[in-house]
Symmetry: C2
Subunit: 413 residues, 2 copies
């Protein structure tokens, strides 16, 4: 690849890229997008990767991505989870001061941080610190989150692949639950936003397919209404398949799961543990079993499988995760500006545009499911959500097929 | 397809096929194998499918598979879970008497039941009843179980696809846990046999890949030794990934999960519920957190995902599931005998043979992991198991790739 002409007076120095927060199936597409795109600019002297996110910067723990083969980079791009490893550290003033010291020592002038809303806030803090310290640094946030909850984005890289996993899982659950009957609850990730839980609805093909009920954190969860819903579906279909977000809360705002918590483990951002425990699913199962006197009630907590399962991703998601990173590099190199790359969708089915917005517009903010995506009863999604989510799953989504053999007339009965 | 020449004095009448027990990703390959192969024989007047297994026979609930298109049959064959739906009913004398009445009324002379060890026992009972009632009936058991625990079989249809799901899930878990660290526990199905849990070992590629510890029901589970194991792995790798069978029991034979059970739900075979609850994973997490003072400990219970996820199956498994059914029909039609079809492996890597063995050899029996598949410490598997299991996963198994970029020398530290 020949060197591109640099803009006038380009900021010369090294590129640093890092990955923060929870992994996604396509986060390495963005990493490799930075590594390969940045090599096209002559003002870039080297491309470093920080190991374990911002913590790797503090610890001066870098690898030299300019000494990686493009072949292996492409193979890593196709591998889920953060190739540079990750962190949940949230830098404060002192943390940032130490980062700058390291960045200055290594002549780092371009910082690309791939992450969610916590990570975009980290980029914002670093950027402000750099400005205050009069250190010339381009800092760009590259979006990723399976929660799909970044402000200003139509959707976020990582979400479509996780959504596809959830949809395929529920296609299987529909088949399984139809075979043996009963009530099935699938607990899906999503602390504040219900997008991923809502994606379970894309498993519906036949009119009696589940999930029959979907509960998202955007609506207060009411146990009595929940039991009424389940009772009604069981009466109608003889079974019931339910998708529940791990983040569902009651009307007072208390998360249903904290009512059960035996540990008060919190990460550095003050978040309590929602995943990695079957507690919420088991609580809901027990409630149904006890109150509705139903026998076969099962709950699966999808946990880490939905964000790192290898072999289930959206090709569209992979391409976009690559593109947001390419655009991030292009904005920094050609326009010499800071910000957060966002995905917009000018046409419904389907194309995207990329833009750069101020970091403040995205940092620390949470986007929720819009009202027109949730049904009036608060226990399902609308056709608007289907239309929004369907194209994201990409090509080759598997489909379930049923026998259509005619019923044989009874002889004895 | 032209009609094949029937043997001398063929038993003329209808074929009945049914599916029992827990679904698998390839159980419909066997259903379709029966439906398509049986149509080649002139002594077959029609092919019926019983809806919900033996219960459908009692209820005279049949569909006419001779009035299905071969196109739709092939699409159903590629769909996970039981296309004819399933049951956990276990027929007794009276149940069987009612079945014969229905079978006689419909002139059913060939009965193929696709299922695990409970289902093979059902076939045995029906066969004995038919003989006692002087009703001429060919009854053949077609193997399927993700537990891989049928006697006389090298492996069972359904297991390779579930094993592939478990292996791919752990590949992702390895990547995820490496990115953020901590202890991860994956709870895998398998009441008495550890094959499926052991399949997690196929996720290992790099020497530090997990699962670092694997606990199977064939070895008594000891909490103290478990904690020592985890402590050692964490000291060595800074993290620990664990695969645990849902069926692990202590030295007295009590299942670890019954110590927690709040419900005494049992199915008609007297089995307690092991799946559909996160209880075992949460117990083990809590124990590690409390005793080893570790902070980030997560457990996922793979639950129903591992047996019905759409879009993850072994092509080899699909082919074999088709073949066992074709062979079942051929044994019944050409040889006019009853029995259970079994898979044998004459060469390690890789081909199979099919044989018909007496129903008594398989019915109600459980095959366990042989000793040479389990390591001396009882917390992992051997190379023998790897060699046994690897070819079963089929073609196109995804692979995880790591960055190999060189470390940048530190300037400040």
């Amino acid at each position: 690849m020949s060197m591109l002409a640099a803009p006038m007076n380009p900021l010369k120095g090294k590129v640093l890229v890092a990955q923060g927060g929870g992994p996604t199936p396509v986060i390495n597409q963005s990493l490799v997008g930075v590594a390969l795109e940045a090599r096209k600019f002559s003002q870039v002297t080297s491309i470093y990767g920080a190991v374990h996110g911002v913590r790797g910067i503090i610890q001066e723990n870098f690898v030299d991505l300019t000494r990686e083969t493009s072949h292996n980079l492409e193979r890593v791009a196709d591998t889920p989870s953060s190739g540079l490893l990750s962190t949940r550290d949230k830098p404060d003033e002192e943390y940032c001061a130490r980062m700058f010291k390291v960045m200055q020592a290594h002549d780092i002038r371009y910082f690309f941080y791939i992450g969610g809303n916590d990570s975009s806030d980290t980029v914002r803090i670093i950027n402000n610190q750099a400005r205050a310290a009069n250190y010339e640094l381009r800092a760009i946030h590259i979006p990723k989150t399976i929660d799909n909850d970044l402000a200003e984005n139509d959707h976020c890289p990582g979400f479509p692949s996780a959504a596809r996993y959830v949809a395929q899982a529920f296609m299987g659950v529909n088949l399984d639950n139809r075979a043996l009957g009963g009530v099935y609850i699938g607990v899906i990730m999503g602390r504040h936003a219900g997008f991923l839980t809502a994606a379970s609805s894309l498993a519906q093909k036949h009119s009696d397919d589940g999930p029959h009920l979907i509960y998202m954190p955007e609506r207060a969860f009411d146990t009595t209404r929940f039991l009424t819903d389940v009772d009604r579906v069981v009466a109608k279909h003889g079974l019931c398949t339910i998708a529940v977000s791990e983040g569902i809360s009651d009307a007072s705002g208390e998360a249903m799961i904290t009512k059960l918590m035996q540990t008060d483990e919190r990460d550095d951002h003050g978040n309590v543990q929602l995943s990695g425990t079957g507690a919420l699913g088991d609580l809901l199962s027990d409630t149904i079993r006890r109150e509705l006197k139903l026998k076969r009630v099962r709950a699966d907590t999808f946990g880490y499988l939905q964000r790192c399962f290898i072999g289930c991703r959206s090709d569209r998601d992979a391409h976009e995760a690559r593109e947001v990173a390419e655009k991030a590099v292009q904005f920094a190199m050609w326009d010499n500006v800071d910000g957060s790359v966002v995905i917009r969708r000018p046409v419904l089915d389907y194309s995207v545009d990329y833009a750069l917005v101020p970091l403040e517009n995205v940092a620390g903010k949470t986007r929720h499911m819009p009202d027109n995506f949730i049904n009036a009863e608060g226990n399902g999604v609308t056709a608007d959500f289907h239309n929004y989510c369907r194209p994201l799953l990409g090509s080759g989504v598997p489909e379930a097929h049923r026998l259509r053999a005619p019923v044989v007339p009874k002889i004895l009965a």
